[in-house]
Amino acid sequence: MKRLSAWRKRLINFCFPAETDTWLAVLRIGLGLQVVLYALSLRGDWNYLLAGTGHGLISRNLGEAILSLESHFVPRLGWFVPLATHAGLHEETVLSVTWICLIASGCSLLIGLASRFTAILAWFLHLCAAKSGGFVSYGLDNFMTIGLFYLMLSPLPDRYSLDWRLRKSRPRDPQHLGFWRRLLQLHLCVIYFFSGLTKCLGIGWWDGSSMWRALIRPPFNVIDAEILVRWKYLFPVAGILICLLEIGYPFLIWNSKTRKIWLIGICAMHVGIGLAMGMYLFAFIMIVLNVAAFGPGLIRTELQTYQPGTVGKALIN
């Protein structure tokens, strides 16, 4: 019975650690920047990719019809377009307004103005765009949804936001800071474990052929294959290193001695993916999530650490 009680206490201590809001500030600023960059990157094609039948690259209506078969509860642009057209607005106007609201919510998150509201707005609008344009969505959209989902549920605002400094607003439940950070950390561990596991089970990641193919496969062939082939002996090493980094992540990121190495390694891997494969936004979101989840403890210097029992007191005052 004593052992069970001790285990329960350990579990609660693990899931509800004393925590500052630095990680949340990193997540908010990082995701704000990510949302802005995401919207800007699609500026020229936003209407073209998300238009309904007869105007865009593919029909948004078809994507939404397939989505409806899966679930009626997933937000989509098709919810507003009929309402707006009923009010005399063109579909194009609705899509443009959505884009403007998305970029505004990103800017607002970046500076921390109306943090909670804009986190919800950014999550909702991005989700609408990602789901309505489901045929042209990829992993980046999933990670943005994950980040924004945790951000909007976390105890905002953080002390670096304008909400805190100018409007003097304070989070209602600052004692939950550690819980939400823990959830993000655990989620990242699952992501890397499964990503590493599936790579390890393929043959190509051990002999370097997958590295080569990933780098020369259109449209990721940013670096000329003539240059890449000179480094072919490094591909098996790099492939195995990526497998080890990913599959080792959930085991070695927790230990204070290996955390710094692993975090730097993973971030370096994402920088490499961004530069060598042109997946800049994907690289950025992964770095933001990693740094928010595991970074602040590493670079903590003079920041106040709350002790159990006093968690969040300074935040409330």
Partner: protein, 205 residues
């Protein structure tokens, strides 16, 4: 925070993590059942069965209209955890290419690719072509190609016929590349669209 409130949060955390792990497992099993891996070919049936089992707690074996399935799937989408994390794994497949051959009344022939304005959109279109290339549904593939052809047609309204040629980009290995082999295109499907709006399909012999 009271202990009872902590328990509620713990239950939420346990549910969220179990959903993430189940979805990741299901997609990993699917990859193992459809790709070449370190496991023998004979194990594919096992992985297929494992995928089916992992789909059960996600409500995927229930009828589509079932409210439990609808709500569960809805939540997975809302939290961004509806898909697993087997990026570029277990192997890197070939990519796909779609070329449109436009024929004009004066006998002119022009070639077009699905056009977008920036790099970020190019990545998205590549993902779309992968979806079209991998689907087993001919009807879906034809519908998607027709929509892409429509987009090209809007830019070239005077074209009388469009042939959409869908192919796979075959990548050379590093030693093959050193010996002069370059990426090549393998013809998979072709669809002819005329002003009558009917598609006829041609397959490789």
């Amino acid at each position: 925070m009271t202990l009872s409130k902590k328990r509620v949060y713990l239950a939420g955390l346990a549910l969220q993590l179990s959903l993430i792990i189940t979805v990741s497992s299901r997609d990993t099993f699917w990859l193992l059942s459809t790709s070449r891996t370190i496991f023998p070919e004979s194990s594919k049936n096992f992985w297929q069965r494992a995928e089916q089992i992992a789909s059960i707690p996600l409500g995927q074996r229930l009828p589509r209209s079932n409210p439990v399935r609808q709500i569960l799937t809805g939540y997975l989408h809302l939290s961004g955890i509806e898909a697993g994390y087997g990026f570029f794994a277990p192997n890197i497949p070939n990519s796909y290419k779609l070329v449109f051959e436009l024929r004009f009344p004066d006998g002119r022939v022009e070639y077009e690719l699905p056009r977008v304005s920036n790099v970020a959109s190019v990545l998205r279109v590549a993902g779309l072509l992968d979806t079209i290339g991998r689907t087993r549904s001919e009807a879906f593939r034809q519908t998607m190609v027709k929509m892409l052809a429509d987009a090209v047609w809007r830019e070239h309204a005077d074209a009388t016929m469009i042939r959409a040629i869908f192919g796979s980009v075959v990548l050379p290995s590093a030693p093959e590349f050193e010996h002069g082999k370059r990426e090549s295109y393998e013809f998979l499907y072709a669809y002819d669209f005329s002003v009558t709006d009917e598609a006829t399909e041609q397959r490789p012999p």
